[in-house]
Symmetry: C2
Subunit: 516 residues, 2 copies
C-alpha cells in the first residue's frame, strides 16, 4: 500500500476498505469534481395510489427492500443511547444469513454494543460512522473486519450527496409517522425533537423504510421526513427508550475547575467584544458549555442586548433564553431534553435544521461561517492548535466527530478544556489523531490560562491589556508538564482501524490498532 503525507503531515494510505481515498489538501483546497449522486427515477405507478405503504414488520420491509450481501444500511442517532432499532435490524440480517453489510449510522452508541456479535460473525463488515464507547474499543483492538470511516455530520451529508457512500437501504426510526411515510420527531412517546440526521438518507438512499411506534392518519405534520422519499412504513411496538432518548441529566457543571473555565471563556468573549447585539453563538450540551451559555445570558442582560440566533443542541437553558427573548432564534440540530422537544414543537422561532442546512461543505454555503462564537471540546490539542476529538491519549477510538469539524468554520472557535485529565496533559507536541487543523481553532481556554492562536493577531491586539491570564500555548503546555510530567505517546500496531474524513471527504488522519 502506498502512503502520502497530507497537508497536516499525516501519512494517508491510497485506499481504505479497498476504495481509493484522497488525502487532506488543506482547508478549502480540495475541489470536488462531477455531479451529485443521482437516485433512480421512481414512478407513482409502483406505489399504492391510496398512499398506504405499510408492511407488516421490519423483516418483511428489509426483504421487500431487497437486502443482500454487501449492502450499505443506514440509521440515524436521534434516539442516542435509547435506540432499539439498529440492534434489531442486524439481528434480522443475521437470521437471513446476510453477510458483509456496511452499517452507516449517523452515530453509534453504547446501547448498540450487541452489534459486536454481527461484526464478529461477518454479518457486518465495518461501520462507517462514529463509534462511541464499546464499538470504538472493539475497532481499536483490531477486531473489526474492515476499517471504520468517521465523518462529521456535515461530512456524512457530503458523502451521501456526492455519492461517496451509496446507501442501499435507509431505516428511519420515527417518533410519529403516517402510512405514506411522512414522519417527525416532535410528537409521540419516543419524541426526539427532529430527524435531520436522516435527511440525506431519505433523499439519496435507494430504498427508504420508516419505522414508527406512533402511526397516525395522513398527514403527519410537520413532515420533517417527506413521505415522497419513502418506500415502506413499518409499525413497531417501540422504537426507543424514552428516558434514554432525551437525557434529563444535562446540568451545568458543579466542578470548580470547569466553572472557572466557563467563566474565563465568557469573560474572554466579553472583553474581546464578541458579545454584541445581534451576535450568534453555538455551545454544546456538556456541563462546561451549559455554564458558558448561562454566563452569556448574564452578560447579555447586563448589556441589554440579544443574540440573533443560537445554534443548538438545545436544552432547557437555551430554551429559557429563547423564551426570555435573549435569543431570537434557535437553529437546532438535536434536542437534548424535553424542554428542547417541547420548544421545537411549539415555538416557530425554534427551527429544526439538518446537516444539509447547517454543515454540508459541498453546498452553496452553510451556516457555520455565520456563527460568531463557537464553543467546542477536544480530547487533545497540539502546540499548533491542531485538535483531536476521537481518540484518547492511550490511542483508543472512543468518540465520534459530530458537528465538531463543521463548526470549526465559525468566526471565533474556542476550546474550553482542562489542562489535564487524570493527570494526563491535554496540550501536546502532537495530537494522537488530527481531526481539525489548527488554523481554524482560535482560542484555547484552560483553568490556568488562555492561549490565542498566533494567526489571530486581531484578538491578540484586542486582549493585550486584558487582566485575563493570556498565555502562549507553549506556556500552557509547560505548566501542565511541570505538574504531570511529559505525557507518554500512545503505541500502535500497523493495522489501520479507522479513517478520519475532513468535511470535504478527504482523509485528514487514520487511526491504528492499539498495542496492548
Amino acid at each position: 500500500m502506498n502512503f502520502t503525507k497530507n497537508a497536516v503531515g499525516r501519512m494517508i494510505p491510497e485506499k481504505i476498505n479497498d476504495k481509493l481515498v484522497t488525502s487532506f489538501q488543506g482547508v478549502g483546497k480540495f475541489r470536488p469534481q462531477g455531479k451529485k449522486h443521482a437516485p433512480k427515477i421512481a414512478t407513482c405507478a409502483d406505489y399504492p395510489l391510496d398512499g398506504n405503504k405499510l408492511v407488516p414488520n421490519l423483516k418483511e420491509a428489509l426483504l421487500k427492500a431487497g437486502i443482500k450481501d454487501g449492502m450499505t444500511i443506514s440509521t440515524h442517532h436521534h434516539f442516542r443511547n435509547g435506540d432499539i432499532l439498529a440492534v434489531e435490524i442486524f439481528k434480522i440480517a443475521q437470521e437471513l444469513g446476510i453477510k458483509d453489510l456496511v452499517w452507516f449510522p449517523s452515530a453509534s452508541f453504547p446501547c448498540q454494543a450487541p452489534i459486536i456479535e454481527q461484526l464478529e460473525n461477518g454479518t457486518i463488515h465495518h461501520i462507517e460512522g462514529s463509534m462511541n464507547g464499546p464499538l470504538g474499543k472493539f475497532a481499536s483492538e483490531g477486531k473489526m473486519k474492515g476499517a471504520g470511516v468517521l465523518r462529521s455530520h456535515g461530512g456524512r451529508y457530503q458523502a451521501v450527496q456526492d455519492g461517496d457512500v451509496k446507501i442501499d437501504i435507509a431505516i428511519i426510526a420515527a417518533p410519529t409517522a403516517d402510512p405514506f411515510g411522512n414522519a417527525n420527531g416532535v410528537t409521540g412517546n419516543s419524541a426526539c425533537g427532529l430527524l435531520g440526521f436522516a435527511l440525506a438518507d431519505s433523499q439519496y438512499a435507494d430504498k427508504v423504510i420508516v419505522a414508527t411506534d406512533n402511526l397516525i392518519p395522513f398527514p403527519c405534520i410537520p413532515w420533517q421526513i417527506q413521505g415522497n422519499y419513502v418506500d415502506y412504513v413499518v409499525e413497531v411496538d417501540q422504537i426507543g427508550i424514552p428516558e434514554k432518548i432525551v437525557s434529563g441529566t444535562t446540568r451545568i457543571t458543579k466542578s470548580p475547575d470547569r466553572l472557572h473555565i466557563a467563566e474565563l471563556t465568557a469573560k474572554f468573549c466579553e472583553e474581546a467584544d464578541l458579545i454584541k447585539d445581534g451576535f450568534s453563538f453555538q455551545a454544546g450540551a456538556g456541563g462546561t458549555s451549559l455554564s458558558i451559555g448561562v454566563y452569556f445570558g448574564e452578560i447579555m442582560k447586563k448589556k441589554g442586548i440579544k443574540a440573533r440566533f443560537a445554534r443548538g443542541g438545545s436544552n432547557k437553558y437555551l430554551v429559557n433564553m429563547l423564551e426570555e427573548g435573549l435569543v431570537e432564534y434557535i437553529l437546532d440540530g438535536q434536542t437534548f431534553d424535553l424542554d428542547g422537544v417541547r420548544s421545537m414543537r411549539d415555538n416557530p422561532r425554534h427551527q429544526n435544521t439538518s446537516p444539509f442546512t447547517s454543515y454540508n461543505y459541498h453546498g452553496k454555503g452553510n451556516f457555520t461561517g455565520m456563527v460568531d462564537i463557537v464553543i467546542l471540546g477536544a480530547t487533545e490539542v497540539d502546540v499548533n492548535f491542531n485538535a483531536n476529538v476521537v481518540t484518547h491519549s492511550d490511542g483508543y477510538l472512543l468518540h465520534g466527530i459530530g458537528g465538531w469539524q463543521n463548526c470549526l468554520f465559525g468566526k471565533n472557535v474556542i476550546l474550553p478544556i482542562p489542562l489535564f485529565r487524570d493527570r494526563i496533559p491535554v496540550i501536546r507536541d502532537e495530537v494522537t489523531t488530527i481531526c481539525g487543523p489548527g488554523e481554524l481553532i482560535d482560542i484555547i481556554v484552560t483553568e490556568r490560562g488562555i492561549a490565542i492562536n498566533p494567526r489571530r493577531t486581531d484578538l491578540i491586539e484586542k486582549m493585550k491589556n486584558s487582566s485575563l491570564p493570556i498565555k502562549t500555548i507553549q506556556e500552557l503546555k509547560a505548566e501542565a508538564e511541570a505538574i504531570c510530567g511529559k505525557p507518554k505517546v500512545a503505541e500502535f500496531e500497523d493495522k489501520i482501524i479507522a479513517a478520519i474524513k475532513w468535511v470535504d471527504g478527504t482523509v485528514i488522519d487514520v487511526v491504528r490498532q492499539v498495542k496492548i
Copy 2:
C-alpha cells in the same frame, strides 16, 4: 416529421423543438428509465464564508450567473398577475443582446404580455409553461419561434427532477429573504403565502438567484426556499404588486346556474356517501368551487363530522373551515387571499406544500391519490370523459394546466361545468385538446344533470335510486345540442404551436396554429 398515434388517439410528432419526445402510452404505462438530474457538486470554498451572497442588482446577478444565448431561465408564478420580475429579467437579457432563451415559468400571466417584445425580437425562443391570455393568443397565432411546452405543476417538477428540462438560471422572487438566500412567502409587503412552485428550481438549477423587496438579517424563518441552494441574492425595490398578488375578489358565485351546479355537486357527494368523517377534498378557487366548499361545510356540520384534510388553493372560506375545526389540516399549494397568507403564517395546521410533495408522478407516491373528492374545471369534455383545460373551442390556447392533470388521480374526480358557455356546448364528440384521459374522470355535473363515468359501476349502483338528475353523458350532450345546435369544430393550420405533456413527461396532445 414522423407522427405516431398515442394512447388517446392523438397524432404526436417525434420531435418538439428539435427534441425527441415520447407519446402518451396510457395511465401508468410509461416507465421512466435512468436517474434523476444530478446538479454539479458545489463547494463552500466558492461561497462567502460570512453567508452574504448579496449582489447589487439583477443585471449583475444574471451576469455572474453566466447568462448566455440558448439558456433556460426559470421563474415562479406565486405573484400571479402582480409579478414584476419576469418582464424585467427579459428586458435585461435583451439589453445584453442575449438570444434564444427558453423561459420556463411555473405559469405565465397577462401582466407578462410585454414579454411578447422579446419573443418577437429573438431574445426568447419559446415558453415552456402555461400561457394564460395574451401570450397564449400570441402562440396560437403561430408567432412564437419555438413551440410552447405545457406541463402540470407536478409535470414541471418531474421534468426538472428527471433532467428533461435543465434550468440554467432560476430567479426566485421572494417576499422575504436573508443575505444567505433563505426565503419565504409568508411575510413582507409582497407576501404570497409560499414559494413551493420554485422548489424544483432551487434544488436543480445550475445557478439560483433570489430577489426580494424585504431583506432581513439571517435567519429568514421559515425558510421555504433554503439558502444552501442559492448562489446570489438581490435586493430590489419591488417584486410584485400586492393587490394583484392576492386577489381580494375570490367570492362564492352569485350566478343561479352555477349555484345550482354547486348544490348538485354537494348533494351528489352526500348521497354517494363520499362525505364521511375523516374524508378529504380539494376544491379550487373559482366561484362554483367555493360554493361547493361552503355546501360541504354545511353537510359536515349537519352530520357532525370533520375532514381530515383539505387541499388548497386556500382562501377565507377554507381558512374559516380550518378555524372552525371542520377541517383538521389544509395542505396548501397556493394562497389565494390574505386570509390564506395569514393562516399559513400563523397556523401550524395550515401546511405549505410543493409540487414535489403533492403532485410529482416520478416520486415514491404523491398526495393526489389520497384525496377523496376532487373538484376540477374544464373547457370541454368529450363523450368518453376526456377533458380539455387549455384551449377554447375556437382553438385558442388560453389557459395553463396547473395542478389539474395531477389531481385526476384523486379517488372521485368531479367536473362541475355548465352545459354550454356563450351558447357553445361544452360536452362534445371530441375535445379540441386532450389534457386528461377520460378513465380518470368520474363525474360530470351540469345544471341539467349529472353523468357518471360508466367505469364507475360502484357509483352508478349507489346512485340508482337517487332523486338527483343522473343521466348519461350522451343525454347531456344531446340536451345541449338541442338548445345550441351542433358545435363547430375549430380549424387549424399545420404548425404545432404547443405540446401538452402528461404527468409522466409523455405527450398527450399537441396544439396547432389557429386558422384565422
